[in-house]
């Protein structure tokens, strides 16, 4: 069996530095908190709050450290070898399930054109898991239109599974079992992915040059965002994510991530390493592995294959959720998948870092619940605090006032806010230094975009906290969220839809604020940053789903769209204005054309 090369000293140093920073920040926060809370005597609430602030601050500091780690530009450029001919047999896999066929297949037509322009020979296989027969029938028709558009017979394939066991992971596995022997490399995409042919060529060349790489992950940029929320995510993915990913790459070394799409795999390595079993017991903890990508990355590393992320590879795109509800729905699935990884923490033979990544993924969701517990514990501790004793001694002439610890609590609050905000402004300086700021509309506009994104994420944080806490509780209570179909293109929401989806958050916020105001009025001010967005939840859900302004959140991908993106828009627009069924019938499938 292959073995991963030993960790280089730089990766070890990065890991130690990041962990040390998180531990130091968490310790300082805990000391400040405990120092402030023990003024009225030491009790169980002080222990609980100290413990909760330790965990939450460690998590925030961990993210901040990762960003800081990515701030420094790479001194040595990553290898970018030329493709040696003959090119390895390569297939682009597009798993789909109840997607809009016209959009999905138009993307494939655009990528096929781009592959030809880049002189990169590759087959394309559309792997459908669509269950709805009517949708499947349309898929077949649009597939025939795709063949006519691309002259793709014999190299663009389409197959639909009758039994969609294992969802997306099972779909890929089914292809590898039946056709994997024909290919050396496979690019795995999502239905909303787009990749430049030149990008695929570069990835293939990289895999060709280093035969120890089992998987190479790109950082897809989000495109086609229209709503305020969608454009904010698009901006964050383009502006902040490369820095975060560079930090991640430095820390993870050869046991990097797989995000499920926009990555290339070595088919033989994947086949020998990534046959996923079903976990014993019912969902949500048993059954199919939902967040299969993390597990596949860990299994490749277990078998000695390098798993790398390269944030410098351009020309890799995806679309993002357009509103908070779509985001929360996707998050619910990811939450269940990540919590399911608790079953795999002790899986035999995994690299220590892979286990740590599982743990990190679990924490990403339970930390919301921990924040919620911290807020509740703080309110309860205040309610149950003993009244101050101004005359602790008998026959005391002057009262003894308890020490004021407002400064400590304010310092703690500012420290936590700093961990969230400072990395984003450091990234702004880094982007200016790297001469990339023009792509984001110049320094002033980019600074406004960063500030607005921080403001928006601050307003949305309590909503996300509520959605994520609910998801964690649902999973812990054994409720299976399943794998709902993606609602791509889901756009504007009305205020009524906002009320329907967010009223429970408003109600919770109103109850919390009322209780605190009457029982512990001193805490009201501290809780306003959390409770006000909760009260406004329906309006926030509705407003952020609308396009507000395009002056903010400008990205380089939007200012100068990549050729494959432009090609997609042009093909998509053309197909929408023609009767795809007529064209498909000409391609030779008349029995499927509508009457």
């Amino acid at each position: 069996m292959k073995r991963l090369p030993p960790l280089d000293s730089r990766t070890v140093l990065y890991r130690i530095a990041t962990l040390a920073f998180a531990a130091a920040a968490a310790t300082i926060a805990t000391v400040l908190m405990v120092d402030a809370t023990i003024q009225d005597g030491f009790d169980i609430w002080d222990v609980l709050r100290g413990f909760l602030i330790l965990i939450t601050t460690a998590w925030l500091a961990w993210g901040a450290a990762q960003a800081c780690l990515g701030l420094g530009a790479r001194r040595r450029p990553l290898p970018a070898p030329d493709l040696a001919l003959p090119a390895p047999a390569t297939v682009v896999l597009v798993p789909i399930c109840n997607e809009d066929p016209v959009s999905t297949f138009a993307r494939i037509a655009a990528m096929d054109r781009s592959l030809a322009a880049a002189d990169m020979p590759a087959d394309i296989a559309i792997l459908s898991d669509t269950r709805d027969p009517e949708n499947a029938r349309i898929e077949e028709q649009v597939y025939l239109r795709l063949l006519e558009e691309t002259d793709g017979r014999g190299r663009i394939f389409y197959r639909r599974r009758e039994d969609n066991r294992g969802r997306k992971a099972g779909n890929i596995e089914d292809f590898i079992r039946k056709s994997g022997g024909a290919y050396e490399l496979a690019v795995i995409l999502d239905a909303d992915s787009l990749m430049e042919g030149a990008t695929i060529r570069r990835m293939v060349a990289r895999m060709q040059a280093d035969t120890d790489i089992g998987l190479l992950q790109t950082l897809p940029k989000i495109i086609n965002g229209n709503s305020f929320f969608g454009r904010a995510m698009q901006f964050a993915a383009s502006f902040h994510s490369p820095i975060f990913s560079r930090g991640l790459a430095r820390m993870q070394g050869s046991t990097g991530p797989f995000w499920g799409h926009n990555a290339i795999i070595r088919v033989q390595a994947f086949a020998e390493s990534c046959g996923l079993p079903e976990l014993a017991g019912p969902p949500p903890f048993g059954g199919h592995i939902l967040s299969h990508d993390y597990v596949e990355a860990a299994l490749l590393a277990r078998n000695g294959w390098k798993v790398l992320v390269d944030e410098t590879i351009e020309g890799s795109f995806e679309e993002g959720p357009e509103n908070i509800l779509s985001y929360a729905r996707r998050d619910r699935r990811w939450c269940q998948g990540n919590l399911q990884h608790s079953r795999l923490l002790l899986a035999p033979g995994l690299a220590g870092w892979s286990r740590f990544v599982f743990l990190q993924g679990i924490f990403a969701y339970i930390v919301s619940l921990i924040w919620a517990c911290f807020l509740v514990a703080s309110v309860l501790a205040t309610i149950m605090a003993p009244l101050p004793d101004y005359f602790p001694e008998a026959y005391q002439l002057f009262p003894v006032f308890p020490d004021d610890r407002t400064k400590e609590i304010t310092a703690l609050f500012l420290g936590i806010v700093g961990l969230l905000i400072v990395p984003k402004f450091l990234i702004l300086t880094s982007v200016v230094r790297e001469n990339r700021i023009e792509g984001f509309g110049g320094t002033v506009r980019a600074a406004f975009s960063v500030a607005t994104e921080i403001l928006l994420s601050s307003f949305l944080a309590p909503l996300m906290l509520m959605y994520q806490s609910r998801a964690v509780v649902q999973v812990l209570l054994g409720k299976d969220g399943g794998w709902p179909a993606n609602q791509r293109g889901e756009g504007k929401l009305t205020l009524w839809q906002g009320i329907g989806a967010g009223m429970w958050i408003t109600g919770t916020g109103a109850i919390a604020l009322t209780v605190v105001h009457y029982i512990a009025p001193d805490l009201t001010l501290w809780l306003l940053p959390v409770c006000v967005p909760m009260l406004l939840a329906p309006a926030l859900i509705a407003i952020t789903s609308r396009p507000l302004t395009n002056a903010l959140f400008v990205t380089p991908e939007e200012r100068a769209p990549s050729p494959v993106v432009s090609a997609y828009h042009s093909i998509h627009a053309r197909w929408q204005h023609e009767n795809v069924f007529d064209v498909a019938a000409r391609e030779g499938k008349p029995e499927h054309a509508p009457a």
């Binding site: 003959p86 090119a87 047999a89 297939v91 020979p121 590759a122 087959d123 296989a125 077949e140 597939y143 025939l144 017979r153 014999g154 190299r155 394939f157 389409y158 197959r159 596995e173 292809f175 590898i176 079992r177 039946k178 056709s179 994997g180 022997g181 024909a182 290919y183 088919v267 033989q268 086949a271 020998e272 390493s273 990534c274 046959g275 996923l276 079993p277 976990l279 014993a280 017991g281 019912p282 949500p284 903890f285 597990v295 299994l299 608790s342 079953r343 795999l344 923490l345 002790l346 899986a347 035999p348 812990l476 209570l477 054994g478 391609e587 030779g588 499938k589 008349p590 029995e591 499927h592």
Partner: protein, 58 residues
Amino acid sequence: MTTQTRTMTSPDATAMGMDNFAAPPSAPLDMPQQVLETRTQGFFIFNMIRLLVPRQWA
């Protein structure tokens, strides 16, 4: 294989079912199922989760 399939001519979709018309090449590859839980570890984790979420396994 890529080169082969590029030059391969496909018959008409009407002449055969869609499955044969559009199917990717047949080239089976073994994909052994991986062991993620040993019996002991599975038992341990199973019981830990049951302790944490009793209703889950009810």
